[in-house]
């Protein structure tokens, strides 16, 4: 009995001993020179910090071994400010959160208040919101493609995408007078009706972009170097994405068709015919391509919305200037350019909200950054941050 045990033990020992004596590459190539990881401070004023991300990189040669991000450089206490303003006074602040797609913020906030106060939005206003929001999504995705191209080193596509985006901004400017922070959505509707000739110009632009976006796809996404740089870099699986709470294009790039416009339909989206674009790999390349494909889907929605646009009032009747919703709580979310953007408002029946909680997709998406970018090359780390597309106005709020 004891003998058998002994032999067993000795056999196990032997295997261990063999393992220890086996040629160990890492041990053999132990450097004789003292080496040290380079600690690099990235941002908050770095040209590709996407606003104000500060991150500490540990660099082993060109490979980033550790990333510690620090956020909060753009914190402006919006949730607290909301508690000190009336419901309609807080509206302009929402534009300043995700300033690249500010329309969605205003819409999500207005939807929540409307839910809370039980306001029925006229149909024309809903259509105008959809038109505006889809234009905003295109503008935001164009900005994304422009910055990604620049970070990959291609400087010219930046101007092409900005040229297209500028045309959208012209349309916005004619509609509501602003180019970045629109304050277009009102509680119960929208602030302005379409000026004369606006729809024709919008349609002309849609037809133009339908053609040019294919050219840009060929120029940027189809390029050999661009594919080589982006494919297979910093991927994450669908499970990990769900664990992190990632939404929007990064989640859809892993193959999960989660789009609030379809998953939890709001406004007039159920009447629209469009596809939720998904990709399979969840790597940098897919995260870029999905934006370009979503632009095409948005164009499709825009065409339908413009066709179906009904006549009628643009703002609900009888919405008080200072609304006092009944005590209670409401949550509403929209699919912003970056993902699931939700507003949660608690009302105590007074003129001001008791609490406003904002759930920004950038914040959730950004948390994947250290995990997926560690072990990548420095150049790819910058690109990975870019493809997650955080806007720091929304991360910090």
């Amino acid at each position: 009995m004891s003998k058998i045990e002994e032999t067993k033990v000795s056999k196990a020992n032997l295997a261990e001993l063999e393992k220890e004596l086996a040629f160990d590459e890492t041990r053999e190539s132990e450097p004789t020179l003292k080496t040290e990881e380079l600690v690099l401070n990235f941002g908050p004023q770095h040209p590709s910090a996407h606003g104000v991300l500060r991150a500490i990189f540990n660099l082993d040669g060109e490979v980033v071994t550790k990333i510690v991000p620090y956020i909060g450089y753009l914190h402006r206490c919006f949730e607290k400010i909301a508690e000190k303003r009336t419901y309609s006074q807080f509206m302009p602040f929402t534009d300043r959160m995700d300033y690249v797609s500010s329309m969605h913020n205003g819409w999500a906030y207005a939807m929540t208040v409307e839910k809370l106060a039980d306001i029925k939005v006229p149909e024309r206003a809903e259509y105008l919101r959809v038109i505006f929001a889809e234009f905003q999504r295109i503008a935001s995705h164009l900005l994304f493609l422009a910055t990604t191209a620049t970070e990959a080193g291609a400087l010219s596509p930046f101007f092409y995408f900005f040229d297209e985006r500028e045309r959208i901004l012209w349309l916005f400017e004619r509609l509501c007078g602003a180019r970045l922070t629109y304050n277009y959505v009102r509680i119960g509707g929208v602030s302005a009706d379409l000026p004369d000739g606006w729809l024709e110009d919008a349609l002309a632009f849609i037809n133009r972009l339908e053609k040019t976006i294919l050219e840009y796809d060929k120029l940027l996404l189809g390029g050999y170097i661009f594919k080589k740089r982006m494919k297979g870099v910093a991927p994450f699986s669908a499970e990990r994405a769900l664990d992190w709470g990632i939404t929007g294009p990064p989640l859809r790039s892993t193959g999960i068709p989660y789009d609030i416009r379809r998953s939890d339909p709001y406004s007039v989206y159920p009447r629209m015919d469009f596809d939720v674009v998904i990709k399979d790999n969840g790597d940098n390349y897919d995260r870029v391509c999905i934006r370009s494909d979503e632009i095409k889907q948005s164009l499709k929605i825009l065409k339908q919305a413009i066709e179906q646009l009904p006549d009628g009032p643009i703002i609900a009747d009888g919405v008080a200037k200072d609304i006092r919703p009944p005590a209670g709580e409401a949550f509403a979310h929209v699919e912003s350019s970056r993902g699931d953007l939700g507003y949660y408002i608690v009302s105590d029946g007074s003129i001001k909200p008791y609490r406003v909680k904002i759930q920004g997709p950038s914040f959730a998406n950004l948390q994947a950054f250290p995990a997926i970018a560690e072990g990548a090359y420095l150049g790819d780390v910058v690109l990975t941050l870019g493809t997650l597309d955080p806007v720091f106005g929304e991360v910090d709020r």
Binding site: N41, S48, E62, A149, A154, K228, R229, Y377, G379
Partner: protein, 335 residues
């Protein structure tokens, strides 16, 4: 040119020692080349901005002078009159010497470039070796700029630059071997002289390898890793401003001029072209600017490689290609 007999006669007539004559001629010639270089860089920067603007739906500089032709003069004056910012912990001498060391080798490399049949400052027998070796010293300046700046981004940029320049020096030198084998000389004027059929047609692989590695040597897109704005802020010259920055700019563009001129000399028939002989420099310049335009076209179209891909391309693709080219050339010559 130095042994021009009339000049010698003039010197002996006036009792001037021969070394004074040689030195003064060398000085005058380098001043002439320097002035031409300055002019060339001005033209190149203007050209780059206009080409970039053309490709990016813009106008480029339009306000200073006719179509902005004087913009570069205004920019130079601005850079020259800027405050000389010196990082607190920078290594004083290395920091100061680096721009000069980047600029000078590129500039000296031009001295053997034959623009016309007799238009060459110094026609060395080993001109080709000289053209390859001397501008390569510039990498020392880049490394010094990185280390002297006391800035991590600058160090990373300079290390990238060193790795890249050293790697691409090898395929670049090998790609030229085929030309030397055919021409039977390393003298640049001799190479052009024997080039009745352009060597680009005899050495297509060599030309491609040479062009790609020249782009890498001069840090142009898609190999602009040492100064990637999105990653390293501005690479090795992050900390430089004013006049010193101007020197880096000079060095960069002169390297581009030198690289394109060498491509013309080796592969595009140098000064050869139809018409009388006095048109030779014109033909040379036209070909050179065509190559430069190609480099700018590439720069404003393509994204950049990652550092490991740059190394892979250099060692695993271009080097075997260059060796293959030498082998094929040798086989054809023997057979």
């Amino acid at each position: 040119m130095l042994s021009s007999s009339s000049l010698l006669q003039f010197a002996s007539h006036n009792g001037m020692p021969i070394w004074v004559l040689n030195t003064s001629i060398a000085l005058i010639m380098s001043l002439v080349v320097f002035a031409l270089c300055g002019l060339g860089v001005l033209i190149l920067v203007y050209m780059e901005r206009k080409v970039a603007a053309d490709m990016q739906l813009r106008w480029g500089p339009m306000h200073v002078g006719w179509h902005g032709v004087l913009q570069l003069i205004a920019d130079s004056v601005k850079l020259l009159s800027k405050e000389d910012i010196f990082p607190r912990n920078a290594d004083r001498w290395i920091f100061r010497l680096a721009p000069v060391l980047v600029f000078l080798p590129a500039f000296i490399g031009l001295m053997v470039m034959p623009i016309g049949p007799h238009l060459v400052v110094q026609d060395l027998n080993v001109g080709l070796l000289y053209v390859l070796a001397v501008p390569a010293i510039g990498v020392a300046g880049v490394i010094m700029a990185g280390f002297g700046s006391y800035n991590k981004y600058a160090i990373l940029g300079s290390l990238r630059s060193a790795a890249q320049m050293v790697s691409y020096e090898v395929p670049r030198a090998l790609s030229i071997l085929g030309v030397v084998m055919i021409a039977g000389s390393a003298k640049l004027t001799a190479i052009v002289g024997t080039q009745h059929a352009w060597y680009i047609f005899l050495q297509p692989i060599g030309f491609v390898v040479f062009l790609v590695s020249t782009l890498a040597e001069t840090n142009r897109v898609p190999f602009d890793l040492p100064e990637t704005e999105s990653e390293l802020v501005n690479g090795y010259h992050t900390e430089y401003s004013g006049t010193r920055f101007l020197f880096f700019l000079f060095g960069e563009y002169i390297a581009l001029i030198a690289g394109s001129a060498l491509a013309v000399v080796l592969f595009l028939g140098g000064w050869h072209g139809p018409g009388p002989e006095f048109l030779a420099p014109v033909w040379f310049l036209i070909k050179m600017f065509a190559i430069i335009y190609l480099a700018m076209w590439i720069r404003w179209t393509l994204p950049r490689f990652r550092i490991d891909q740059v190394m892979d391309l250099g060692w695993k693709v271009l080097l075997p290609l260059a060796l293959l080219n030498v082998l094929i050339t040798g086989l054809i010559m023997v057979l």
